[in-house]
């Protein structure tokens, strides 16, 4: 799909408004004396714009193929997240780096493993083409 068609479509402008809204909410949160949360929200909005620019065509338009890609990627990411949780349950006390870590400090790591896996697998299936 060409860039002009993307700019004309309704989904694109809804997405742009959502990104601007998130950034404005972040700025408002900074003004209300919550700088850490505010900077996080602003960076989320900025990252959404960056990812949309990188993988734009994949994320704006939800046809049958992209839905299928998302489901397959979700399946793989779900399995990867569960395996990570079980591995940490089984060997968390033995591994030297996380031996003394509490679960709360590992949760963010598991969360990023899942999201990274989801992103990479969806990118792979999108490049691969045939999803059945």
């Amino acid at each position: 799909m060409k860039n002009q068609e993307i700019e004309k479509s309704k989904d694109f402008w809804i997405f742009v408004k959502a990104c601007i809204g998130i950034i404005l909410v972040g700025i408002a949160t900074i003004l209300f004396n919550q700088p850490v949360i505010g900077i996080n929200i602003v960076s989320t909005g900025t990252l959404m714009i960056v990812f949309a620019a990188l993988f734009g065509k994949m994320h704006y338009f939800q046809d049958a193929r992209s839905r299928r890609i998302r489901e397959k990627a979700g399946y793989n990411a779900y399995v990867a997240t569960l395996i990570t949780i079980f591995l940490l349950l089984a060997f968390g006390n033995v591994l030297p780096l996380i031996k003394n870590a509490t679960y709360s400090s590992v949760t963010a790591f598991i969360f990023f493993v899942g999201l990274f896996c989801f992103l990479m697998v969806s990118l792979y299936y999108n490049k691969k083409g045939d999803v059945e």
Binding site: E71, I85, F86, Y103, A108, F111, G114
Partner: protein, 139 residues
């Protein structure tokens, strides 16, 4: 399903119920002090055994049908289960920010049961969603 394997799942079902009954009786009668610390583990293990063996016992004799539609339903269910899992992890990792709003999160944050409960939430939500999508028909 093989008849011998089915008998094994029946055995596991009976064992799960027996373990649950023993745990409940121990709770009512008081139990040993060392036992009461790990009682939640026994309850979780017995419920897992009961639910897993119940699923396999109630499965048709020909086994689960793995056609295109079922695979699609399973993948769709796992996408939503993944989102639920990620939501749980976000809530737990952001528990410091929610201090004052919900102190339950802070209590659950460093509990020794939290990883087990999160894994159970992921697996059971996947099972329930897969059941729903397979029953619903159109995926």
């Amino acid at each position: 399903m093989n008849n011998f394997v089915r008998k094994g799942w029946y055995l596991l079902l009976v064992l799960g119920f027996a373990l649950l009954a023993i745990v409940i009786i121990q709770i009512i009668l008081g139990g040993r002090p060392s036992y009461s610390q790990n009682v939640i583990y026994y309850i979780i293990i017995s419920l897992d055994g009961i639910i897993t063996s119940w699923i396999f016992v109630s499965m048709p004799k020909t086994g689960a049908v793995g056609d295109e539609r079922t695979i699609r339903a399973l993948e769709k269910a796992s996408l939503y289960a993944f989102l639920i899992l990620v939501g749980c992890l976000i809530l737990l990792s952001g528990a410091y920010f929610f201090d004052g709003i919900n102190s339950f999160l802070l209590a659950a944050k460093d509990s020794y049961l939290t990883p087990i409960i999160v894994a159970h939430i992921g697996i059971y939500s996947w099972g329930i969603l897969a059941y729903y999508f397979v029953k619903k028909g159109d995926v």
